[in-house]
């Protein structure tokens, strides 16, 4: 039986080869979080000055928040794109049957493969923003960014569960419909990265508590406010992320197991 390590190694290499062979794409990936910064500044300027933005978002260092928040937003998109996209991507390439022929459960392959690609992407996204943060805000801000990276790693776990669900739905719909592209704007809308979730209608504000990215954004706000964030808040954020991780992965994994059976009933294409 193929070991988990082998699957991880295969995915890391594939991702490395992919970036190496697509240099323009690599540069775009590096620049992407900066693009997001501009989007956030544009959104932010709707509130007026930087001071007002600071006030509304409740952060002490708006620059650090702008950058960290952008990185979190792009990382969140990457995770959903990568993890939910794995299955449909393989179908488009025609590699799906060969991946299913790995002598492991499909869900194992999907989980390991999307976890690896997601963590690499998240690191990539936050690392690309690091130079700007250090130049503008100093080395200590770099440390704060590391903290955000840690939270984003944990935030990746519940996002994976959601992504698994989205990917499986796309695969089973067996249309060329892309459910993933619907997930991302929804998650960003509810994450409160562009504006405080309080300004959302009540029902959406409630829904935002089920969005992992919201908690990572909260963590980014903490990091942009305190050098040593208060322990109780950190614990609450961690607790929420772990809870959501369990919830979404139980749903995601069980529906993938169902989907694998359904896929083999219909015939893998």
């Amino acid at each position: 039986m193929t070991s988990i390590r082998n699957i991880m190694s295969a995915e890391i290499r594939a991702q490395f080869y992919w970036l190496k062979n697509n240099k323009v794409m690599m540069v775009m990936t590096l620049l992407w979080p900066y693009l997001m910064v501009f989007i956030m500044i544009s959104f932010g300027s709707a509130f007026g000055s930087l001071e007002e933005f600071k006030e509304k978002m409740g952060v002490a260092s708006p620059i650090l928040y702008l950058f960290a928040g952008s990185a979190v937003a792009t990382a969140s998109i990457s995770v959903i794109d990568n993890a939910a996209g794995v299955a449909t991507w393989h179908r488009w390439l025609g590699t799906l049957p060969y991946v299913l022929l790995v002598p492991r459960r499909f869900v194992t392959y999907l989980l390991v493969s999307s976890l690896v690609t997601s963590l690499v992407q998240v690191t990539f996204n936050l690392a690309s923003i690091a130079p700007a943060v250090v130049v503008l805000e100093g080395a200590s801000a770099g440390f704060q960014l590391l903290l955000v990276l840690g939270f984003m790693f944990i935030g990746t776990l519940p996002l994976l569960g959601i992504a698994l669900l989205g990917g499986i739905a796309s695969l089973l719909a067996s249309e060329e419909s892309d459910i993933i592209n619907f997930l991302n704007p929804l998650i960003l809308l509810l994450s409160g990265v562009f504006y405080p979730v309080k300004i959302l209608p009540w029902i959406l504000e409630q829904a935002s508590y089920y969005i992992p990215t919201k908690y990572v954004v909260d963590a980014a706000k903490l990091a942009a406010t305190y050098t040593y964030p208060p322990g109780s808040t950190v614990i609450i954020i961690l607790y929420a992320l772990v809870l959501l991780a369990v919830l979404y992965n139980v749903i995601g994994v069980s529906s993938t197991i169902y989907a694998e059976r359904e896929l083999r009933r219909r015939g893998v294409r």
Binding site: M1, T2, S3, N6, I7, S9, A10, R13, A14, Y17, W18, N21, N22, L93, G94, T95, P97, Y98, V99, L100, L101, V102, P103, R104, Y109, A173, S174, E175, R261, R264, R265, R266, G267, V268
Partner: protein, 344 residues
């Protein structure tokens, strides 16, 4: 564990018993049966032989291959690979097979041949030195090494190179059993011959090969035994020689005709067809047609005379007539009723 063998099955690498499969159409709430792809398909592949599933388009070849390679679950019936059930013991089956489903897809476009093989090799449980050695030897075996396929992007490869890379992936794990769905589809004669030679060589080295094709010629020269499938059933099975014996009481006759008037030709075919005479036709070049007739032994002269008379009546010019040796194509036509699968 695997099932209890009977003596007859002990040397069977693949056993398929009464496989049935229906495809559905429409999406989830309103799914209706669309195509009965397999209707009780059975066959047995012995260890170390090249077994060919020969059938026209839509006969159920790909469906069968997917079931045998654990990519699809049959509605009913059972299949075993090396004694392991393809449904309940799929992981055991997967460890023993190498599969190739299509020539032109199935790899990452923007990765080189070697990078692609490394990815799949790792997924199939190889690593380190062993992986690199297997990649080298597979590339060598399929002849991609000398073509520089290892460092070429998949998207830049010709169909012939892609087929070779597909085969290299099959060989990576050194599987007991190779399962290939139309591995020569779309290849030029040179590449196709190369692939066939390779498969024969692997079989001589002890591997079992299950291959599908709609190419009679290929089945005849490549396979130790052939199962002819039609509408989801194996309708005849045996060595090419045995299968040809099935029509030994018939003589194949080829007639070359000159005309630009296809309706008249169709009329001629209709007039010549009888219960004991099968007729099929095909264009050779513009204005030139070949009729293939399968005629009961002893009636050759009578039928030939009939061809001349009826052709003249329709103003069709007979260029040449020839009484031939039986080929697998004749068997195929005799058994499948003129449906050679060449069109469609």
């Amino acid at each position: 564990m695997g099932k209890v063998y009977t003596v007859a099955e002990a040397d069977a690498a693949i056993v398929a018993e009464s496989l049935e499969k229906t495809y559905y159409k429409g999406s989830f709430p309103r799914r209706t049966p669309a195509v009965k792809a397999l209707r009780g398909l059975s066959f047995k592949v012995r260890r170390g032989e090249v077994y060919g599933l020969l059938g026209p388009n839509g006969a159920g070849k790909t469906t069968t291959v997917k079931i045998i390679s654990t990519l699809m679950v049959p509605d009913s019936g059972e299949a075993y690979v090396s004694g392991y059930n393809v449904v309940s013991e799929f992981a055991e089956v997967r460890k023993r097979i190498g599969v190739m489903l299509s020539v032109e897809r199935g790899f990452f476009w923007k990765l080189t041949g070697r990078e692609n093989l490394r990815y799949f090799g790792l997924l199939y449980g190889l690593s380190g030195r062993e992986l690199e050695e297997r990649i080298d030897s597979s590339l060598e075996t399929v002849g991609l090494r000398e073509l520089g396929g290892g460092s070429k992007f998949f998207e830049d490869m010709s169909l012939g190179m892609r087929a070779r890379l597909g085969l290299a992936r099959v060989l990576l794990r050194d599987p007991e059993i190779m399962i290939l769905d139309e591995p020569t589809l779309g290849l030029d004669p040179h590449s196709a011959r190369h692939i066939r030679r390779l498969l024969r060589l692997e079989a001589r080295n002890g591997k079992t090969v299950l291959v599908t094709t709609h190419n009679m010629f290929e089945a005849e020269i490549l396979c130790d035994r052939v199962g002819i499938i039609r509408s989801g059933r194996v309708i005849a099975e045996g060595t090419p020689g045995e299968l040809k014996g099935l029509v030994s009481r018939s003589t194949p006759i080829t007639v070359l005709l000159k005309t630009f008037d296809e309706p008249s030709l169709q009329e001629l075919v209709a007039r010549l067809s009888r219960d004991d005479v099968r007729v099929d036709y095909e264009r050779v070049e513009p204005g030139k047609w070949r009729l293939s007739l399968l005629v009961p032994r002893g009636l050759e002269d009578e039928v030939l005379a009939e061809v001349y008379v009826k052709a003249r009546a329709l103003s069709l010019k007979v260029l040449e007539t020839r009484v031939r040796e039986v080929t697998l194509e004749d068997v195929f036509i005799a058994l499948t009723g003129g449906d050679t699968g060449k069109v469609g």
